[in-house]
């Protein structure tokens, strides 16, 4: 076996991880943008509670979050039962559940940077857009949103990285089933469970590091290009 040649199980875990992280990002990011915007621009009753709820997955040990997810979204959980009966969607013990766990855990990491960027955008620009006839939604989409891209990108990076590395909530919620929920992080854990697993663990650590590194570089390049495009590059 060549050291640099990925084994099928490793491929499987890698592909699954990327799929789970991407799905988590895709679903959670728009929601995070929405919540961040609301938190940044409006003072509504319940502002504090929404804010606290968003941060909860960060404060609680992942195992607890995973357990709560299991209680709520499991086959017998109230939400899980409803979803599976009404829409036929089931999160229990499959990769969508892993994505859900990753998304929930990544959520606070996305909301905060995005919120900071929204708060830094001068609302006078949006007002100017409205004075030019843009509906508030259009003004948001054409002015505030593009100007908040650094934060959105930053949030996406943090969220994606977290989703890739998520372990505690995932293993608790959807278990550690190869090909279905055994992401790189879980495979890594599995490997550490045997003394002879050190080499495997090392390989998996390397894979995770390389993927993360590639994602980071890509995001940096993308960010730089975008920043140049939106003219915020001060160099």
């Amino acid at each position: 076996m060549n050291f640099f040649h990925l084994q099928p199980a490793e491929w499987q875990a890698l592909a699954l991880t990327v799929k789970v992280a991407a799905a988590a990002l895709l679903v959670a990011l728009p929601l995070a943008v929405l919540v961040a915007y609301l938190l940044a621009r409006y003072r509504f009753p319940g502002h504090g509670i929404v804010n606290a709820l968003v941060h909860m997955p960060l404060v609680l040990p992942p195992v607890v979050t995973g357990y709560l997810l299991l209680l709520a979204f499991g086959r017998k959980g109230p939400v899980g039962a409803f979803l599976s009966e009404t829409f036929g969607i089931s999160f229990a013990f499959n990769w969508t559940g892993a994505a859900l766990a990753a998304g929930v855990m990544a959520f606070p990491l996305m909301v905060r940077p995005i919120r900071i960027s929204f708060e830094a955008v001068d609302p006078k620009l949006e007002a100017a857009a409205k004075s030019l006839g843009a509906h508030r939604v259009v003004a948001f989409l054409t002015i505030t949103l593009p100007l908040a891209v650094p934060g959105i990108l930053g949030g996406a990076i943090l969220g994606f990285a977290k989703a890739m590395g998520e372990f505690g909530a995932t293993i608790t919620f959807v278990s550690n089933i190869p090909g279905e929920t055994r992401t790189l992080a879980l495979a890594l854990y599995t490997a550490t469970q045997t003394p002879s697993g050190d080499l495997a663990a090392f390989r998996l650590t390397l894979i995770a590091a390389v993927v993360a590194f590639a994602a980071l570089i890509a995001s940096e390049v993308f960010a730089r290009r975008l920043r140049r495009r939106i003219g915020g590059d001060h160099d």
Binding site: R75, K76, G179, T190, Q193
Partner: protein
């Protein structure tokens, strides 16, 4: 009977090596693929309770098996005890044999801690504590404990020299080349360390009973024995 779908087994992470070897043998014989979800026994028990797609549940802890039985998550009449284990104290490779006495332990632990699985959360820790109490050694060590999330880390901390002593299963001691057994704890000093398996209530795979039987059979016993498990009781 062969099936396209693999048989899914939820097994305690500490059983990983043994379970995979047994599964290989089983596949050889029946051409049925087995996949495992490895995690802490408690985590798996809660998942089985929540209706996880497991055909078998392999527990390293009798208490959790009782728990899932009480929840009707496993078929009570299928519970079998297929192996047991013993406890040993390990030190670094060249460590001399240790006479078990409070004074001796005190001396060894003066500058370091006794690494062991968490007595409150991990079965290995619970058994270990029971043994130490029975042997009258508990007062000597209770203040010098380093409770670990799992046995592997306890082993590793001795291997790395962070702790002079670890209390682990004898199976663990056998596979880590960097450590040596310095003392064995008498079997009578703690409740029997039992490994139990059962068919889950939500099983779907037709080969599940066959695998349970295989696990309790001579071929599996051989494998378990070679890895240091005690199988005499079963015999």
């Amino acid at each position: 009977a062969t099936d396209e779908r693999p048989l899914t087994v939820f097994a305690a992470a500490s059983m990983r090596e043994a379970m995979e070897a047994i599964a290989d043998a089983f596949e050889e014989e029946t051409a049925t693929k087995v996949v495992f979800s490895f995690a802490g026994t408690g985590t798996l028990a809660r998942q089985v309770e929540a209706g996880a797609p497991a055909d078998l549940f392999v527990s390293a802890d009798a208490a959790w098996m009782d728990y899932v039985r009480d929840q009707d998550a496993v078929s009570a009449d299928t519970i079998v005890e297929f192996a047991s284990n013993g406890l040993v104290l390990v030190g670094l490779e060249e460590s001399p044999v240790l006479e078990l006495s409070p004074e001796n332990l005190h001396a060894v632990l003066e500058t370091g801690r006794l690494a062991m699985a968490d007595p409150e959360t991990v079965p290995a820790g619970r058994y270990g504590k029971a043994a130490l109490v029975t042997l009258g050694l508990w007062p000597a060590v209770s203040a010098r404990l380093a409770p670990m999330e799992n046995v592997r880390i306890a082993l590793a901390s001795v291997a790395r020299g962070d702790a002079p002593l670890a209390l682990v299963y004898r199976t663990d001691a056998m596979v880590e080349p960097a450590v040596a057994v310095v003392a064995e704890l008498p079997q009578q000093s703690h409740p029997p360390i039992r490994y139990l398996a059962a068919l889950t209530s939500s099983r779907t795979h037709p080969a599940a009973p066959a695998f349970l039987e295989f696990l309790n059979g001579p071929r599996a016993r051989e494998i378990l024995h070679s890895l240091g498990f005690l199988t005499d009781k079963v015999n």
